[in-house]
Amino acid sequence: MKNIFIHLQPFILILLILCFVPTMVLADGKGKPDIKAMSTSMVSDIEGNPFQLGNAWQEKPVVLVFIRHFG
């Protein structure tokens, strides 16, 4: 039993490193929203028409959801 654990040690170590990779360090994003820049950002609707994101919350509150990807 002890021998099995010794053989598994490197794998457990690799798994632990992968689990706790500091994702924040490796991330590109600033991690802080800039509401002015968000407000002036241009997106498109599904027909391809340009839309300024800030127009969405001009009159009423908006829950703005950014999804990772389609699919």
């Binding site: 992968l18 994003g29 800039d34 391809g48 509150p61 908006v62 829950v63 950014f66 699919g71």
Partner: protein, 132 residues
């Protein structure tokens, strides 16, 4: 989150979704999930960057996602072919008129999402504050 659209509307707010694939993918996505919320696309990721959202390989491929991915697989939530930037992470914000950002959640990895209930509660609380 899409189950909460009616509740969000009842609070006098709107929910909008931004994705990073192209409009062709967005149309198929909207149809597949029967989405009623307005859907926009931003393949340039400019709005994602403005929102401070993370783009990370470690976040997408890291071992902390393996268990949630397996869980999703066993509960029948299969992920289709990735359409958009696979390393881009998401986020949720609540914005009031006048660029009033009252809530932000920046995901560190795919399985890192705020509970939809919490977002609706935050929206309710902010509406209450405003009406006082």
């Amino acid at each position: 989150m899409r189950d909460k659209v009616d509740e969000i509307h009842s609070l006098g707010a709107e929910m909008i979704i931004v994705g990073n694939g192209n409009s062709q993918f967005a149309t198929a996505f909207k149809k597949k999930l029967n989405l009623t919320a307005p859907l926009y696309v931003d393949p340039s990721l400019a709005s994602y960057n403005a929102a401070g959202l993370k783009r990370t390989k470690a976040g997408t491929l890291g071992a902390r996602n393996w268990l949630p991915a397996l869980k999703a697989l066993f509960t029948g939530n299969f992920q289709g072919r990735t359409q958009g930037d696979p390393y881009q992470q998401g986020g949720v914000f609540i914005v009031f008129p006048g660029d009033g950002l009252v809530y932000s959640y920046i995901s560190k990895r795919p399985s890192d999402r705020p509970p939809a209930k919490k977002i609706v509660e935050k929206l309710k609380a902010e509406q209450k504050k405003l009406n006082k």
